[in-house]
């Protein structure tokens, strides 16, 4: 294909259909990983390291083994040798080395969960403990430039002469912004049931990608991918943390191999999730902006640093949004990372854009004030004609329209630019704005199969995932339109490696990748078998390439506005009103899409005001590792949330015209809140979260 993809005529798409998996979820009958019925299941509880760096010198398992009901105690001394140890996170129990506190150093299998957990507490370990370093700081001696950063982006990018431009700029901002360690914390803990039977490994796993898990796990045990089946029809949230298989999946598979034929169940405790399930790295970002008196940028510079683990490199692409967001002839963006004695960081909702846009969009607010410009106007003035990074035209870019509509909805004209000027009912009140952005990703590797059934029905199969994202419903709507039949005639099957392969539910790419594969399979079926295919007629389609990807810059945009109230007596800070306006191409299902965007903004509010994993340098771990002490927003923290989108017609992105909406909702929320807090109080917050301490005199 060399031309723009033929577009789908929307019939079912655009209809606010109730979630098809809704009835199962509200009656409690939808099966999550740990809930698939098993005969005589066994329970596995991990044993974790209690030092942050060092080596195990002795591990005493006798007391655990003596507990009635215990069937096996795994340690590095008796665990199966893995065939592939290239992934340091997954290569558990292969040596006595400890790379972070909380790392899996063993596991106990027993006939009940109570027994397994109790016995695990009886395993005694002696260590040769080494000094540890768990704190990311500016100028850390271990900082280095990785080969590339997450998403395959260049580590550094330089255009023009930033230093010269900054030196000659009328107005500059030069500040450092920080975001803390954050934990994804989906409500469903990471869970796996592993069954090893006859050389075949079956995993009921809570995952964002069954095929990803298979691809990760099979080589560890020297298995062909076909010998591993992964099943995951419903996932209780992931937000990136279930995008990769983590170490507990390997532990479960190891235990299952020791006890063939017996299902082994492992669910991480909430506390364990703070060590073993990935997290968002803390970031430090030095942002420098240079502009003329009218606020037109001459230079943008972002130097981002983050952390990774000793045993695996992951570098968040924190600075990439600054490469394309605003026009500036001179730009520099760099990433540096350092290895610490910490758990392995990974994806968390909008890795890169989320912390990156916090820093950049607060810096924008500071520049607006320095120029005496309205913050909305400043963004409008720096709107680029084409993608500043590639020079390509945008497939569609409606940031300005989002800003204007959002300003109207929040009542921006009532904002007093003087900080601390508005007081109501004992609270200081302010408004703030931020832009949002998220790229349109299209990854190869998905395929869908469409099969004609009796009575004009169709079965559509693809190993995709629904982590609450609405996949069950949206893909059914796309299939219906691709086949030109009512949605009631489509039976979708997802979440199983027995189905055609699917890429991971990540990068807001699910609908683009899986939906395109379904469209192509449906077109193939119609092409081969016509309007009335015989029962059993099948066709397969793949995501395929989109030549426009090389010709256009493809992004979703949005604008977020916040109203913040700070209690004049106590400094308590709340955000009772948020407005988000988005331009994200065609919305497949307005009902589930609205929830996605609301959910992103809610998590963004939570990040802005509450979330922080407090790293204790002396013990070398996150101190507040549960839901009582790691605060996420409660129902009472959410006031009025106004979410809307523009009707955006983008002929280039894919056959559906959709851009992906899972992540953009969290991008910019924290900056809008921090900017509103400044407008309310005159206190500039550059370090998240925004808490009452900052407002107490």
């Amino acid at each position: 294909m060399t031309t723009t993809e033929q577009r789908l005529t929307p019939r079912a798409m655009g209809v606010p259909l109730d979630r098809l998996d809704g009835p199962a979820k509200v009656t409690g009958t939808a099966r999550y990983a740990f809930e698939h019925p098993q005969t005589q299941p066994l329970y596995l509880h991990p044993v974790q390291a209690t030092v942050a760096a060092g080596r195990i010198t002795a591990i005493e398992t006798g007391a655990a083994e003596a507990v009635p009901g215990v069937l096996a105690v795994l340690t590095h001394l008796n665990a199966p040798r893995l065939a592939d140890t290239s992934d340091g996170e997954l290569a558990i129990l292969q040596s006595g080395g400890v790379a972070f506190r909380g790392q899996i150093i063993g596991g106990v299998v027993a006939t009940s969960p109570e027994t397994a957990r109790h016995a695990a507490s009886l395993v005694r370990t002696a260590y040769d403990e080494q000094p540890h370093d768990v704190v990311l700081r500016a100028g850390h001696e271990g900082l280095y430039a990785p080969d590339s950063v997450n998403g395959g982006y260049d580590t550094d990018q330089v255009q023009g002469d930033v230093e010269a431009a900054l030196a000659s700029a009328d107005v500059t901002v030069d500040q450092t912004y920080t975001t803390p360690t954050l934990h994804n914390n989906p409500m469903e803990p990471h869970s796996t049931i592993a069954v090893w039977d006859d050389g075949q490994l079956t995993l009921y796993d809570s995952t964002q990608g069954v095929h990803m898990v298979r691809k990760s796990v099979a080589p560890l045990f020297g298995l062909d991918p076909e010998q591993v089946r992964v099943i995951s029809p419903h996932v209780g949230g992931g937000f990136g943390s279930k995008g990769n298989a983590h170490a507990h999946v390997v532990l479960a598979a190891m235990a299952a191999r020791q006890l063939p034929g017996r299902p082994v169940k492992l669910a991480l405790t909430r506390q364990q999730m703070f060590f073993l399930a990935g997290y968002r790295t803390p970031t430090l970002q030095r942002v420098r902006l240079g502009a003329d008196r009218d606020g037109r940028f001459s230079a943008i510079s972002v130097e981002a640093i983050s952390q990774t683990a000793r045993i695996k490199e992951f570098t968040e692409q924190t600075a990439v949004a600054a490469r394309m967001m605003y026009a500036a002839p001179n730009r520099r963006t760099t990433h540096r990372v350092t290895r610490l004695d910490v758990p392995v960081p990974s994806w968390m909702r909008a890795p890169g854009e989320c912390p990156g846009m916090f820093a950049a969009e607060v810096a924008m607010d500071e520049l607006a004030e320095a120029c005496g410009l309205d913050p909305v106007e400043l963004r409008v003035r720096n709107e680029p004609e084409t993608d500043p990074e590639t020079g390509h035209p945008f497939s569609s870019r409606n940031l300005v329209a989002c800003l204007r509509e959002g300003a109207r909805r929040i009542g921006w004209e009532r904002r007093d630019p003087t900080p601390g000027a508005r007081r109501e009912n004992g609270a200081l009140v302010g408004l703030g704005v931020s832009a949002s952005v998220y790229p349109v990703f299209r990854m190869p590797g998905s395929a869908a199969r469409v099969r004609a059934e009796a009575g004009g029905r169709y079965t559509v199969s693809i190993g995709a995932a629904d982590l609450g994202t609405g996949t069950w419903t949206a893909l059914t709507q796309i299939a219906a339109d691709a086949l030109e039949v009512p949605v009631e005639h489509v039976d979708l099957r997802i979440g199983d490696t027995a189905l055609p392969p699917a890429t991971v539910a990540g990068g807001s790419s699910g609908i683009t990748c899986w939906g395109s594969a379904i469209v192509h399979a449906a077109r193939e079926l119609r092409g081969q078998h016509g309007r009335s295919p015989a029962e059993g007629a099948e066709a397969v389609g793949e995501t395929g390439d989109n030549p426009d990807t090389e010709r256009y810059a493809m992004y979703a945009f949005g604008a977020q506005f916040a109203e913040v109230r700070v209690d004049a007596d106590t400094g308590e800070v709340r955000a009772p009103r948020l407005v988000g306006v988005f331009a994200a191409g065609r919305i497949i299902n307005p009902k589930t899409a609205r929830s996605q965007l609301l959910g992103g903004m809610t998590m963004g509010l939570s990040m802005a005001l509450y979330e922080q994993s407090h790293v204790d340098p002396s013990i070398g771990q996150v101190a507040n590792h549960d839901f009582a002490e790691y605060h996420i927003a409660t129902n009472a923290d959410i006031g009025s949330l106004d979410v809307s989108w523009l009707d955006e017609d983008d002929p280039h992105v894919n056959a559906m015209g959709s851009k992906g909406i899972g992540e953009i909702g969290i991008v910019g929320t924290a900056a809008a809140v921090a900017n509103a807090a400044y407008n309310a109080t005159g206190v500039r917050i550059r370090d998240l979260p925004v808490t009452l301490d900052a407002f107490l005199s």
Binding site: D18, R19, D21, G22, P23, A24, K25, V26, T27, G28, T29, A30, R31, Y32, F34, E35, P37, P41, P68, G69, S112, P113, E114, H118, P186, M187, E188, P189, H234, V235, G236, G237, F239, A267, R270, L467, G468, T469, G470, K591, T592, R594, S595, Q596, L598, G599, G600, M601, T602, M603, S606, D626, F627, A628, I632, A633, T634, N635, A636, I638
Partner: protein
């Protein structure tokens, strides 16, 4: 000391169930791992999220913090026992229509909690946001939010949950 086993009798969603279990077993694990009632969810196992909420003798409680042995002969309603045959409970129906969830993992707890909460409001119980502690309860959005705050939702479906409950409450 070895595990201590005891006999416990529970009435779960209208069915009498008898089982022998470890004194350490929570009501939640008794339901999920022993009786196959997996509607109630385990999100934290420490009363910090509300996913395990059930109705215990008519009141909403965190089943993860209740030892099964201490609730012998109790009457339990889980999310699986709310529907009347194929007819969803009004709250279940409203949650679907308002899209008051995404991943669905907190949903059983949210719905059981809402059932219990409406009973409490009916009985005139005030909340932390009630301006007048002795006035009749008016279930404003703020009242619903506060009363439902023991049920965390990481997907951030609160903006759907509140109207879903409000519609049934009013």
């Amino acid at each position: 000391m070895d595990a201590v086993e005891v006999e416990v009798s529970l009435r779960v969603d209208g069915r009498q169930r008898r089982l022998t279990l470890d004194t350490r077993t929570s009501l939640l694990d008794a339901l999920r791992e022993r009786l196959g009632v997996t509607g109630p969810k385990k999100g934290c196992d420490h009363g910090q999220c509300g996913a395990c909420t059930i109705l215990l003798d008519g009141r909403r409680v965190n089943s993860c913090l209740a030892l099964a042995v201490a609730h012998d002969e109790a009457e339990i309603t889980t999310v699986e026992g709310l529907a009347d045959g194929d007819t969803l409970h009004p709250l279940q129906e409203s949650f679907v229509r308002h899209d008051g969830f995404q991943c669905g993992y907190c949903t059983p707890g949210q719905i059981c909690s809402a059932v219990g909460m409406l009973t409490e409001a009916e009985a005139g119980w005030p909340s932390a946001v009630s301006a007048d502690l002795t006035a009749p309860v008016e279930l404003t959005d703020a009242e619903i939010s506060e009363r439902m705050s023991g049920n965390l939702c990481r997907c951030g479906a609160y903006a759907g949950i509140v109207p879903a409950i409000a519609e049934v409450a009013r």
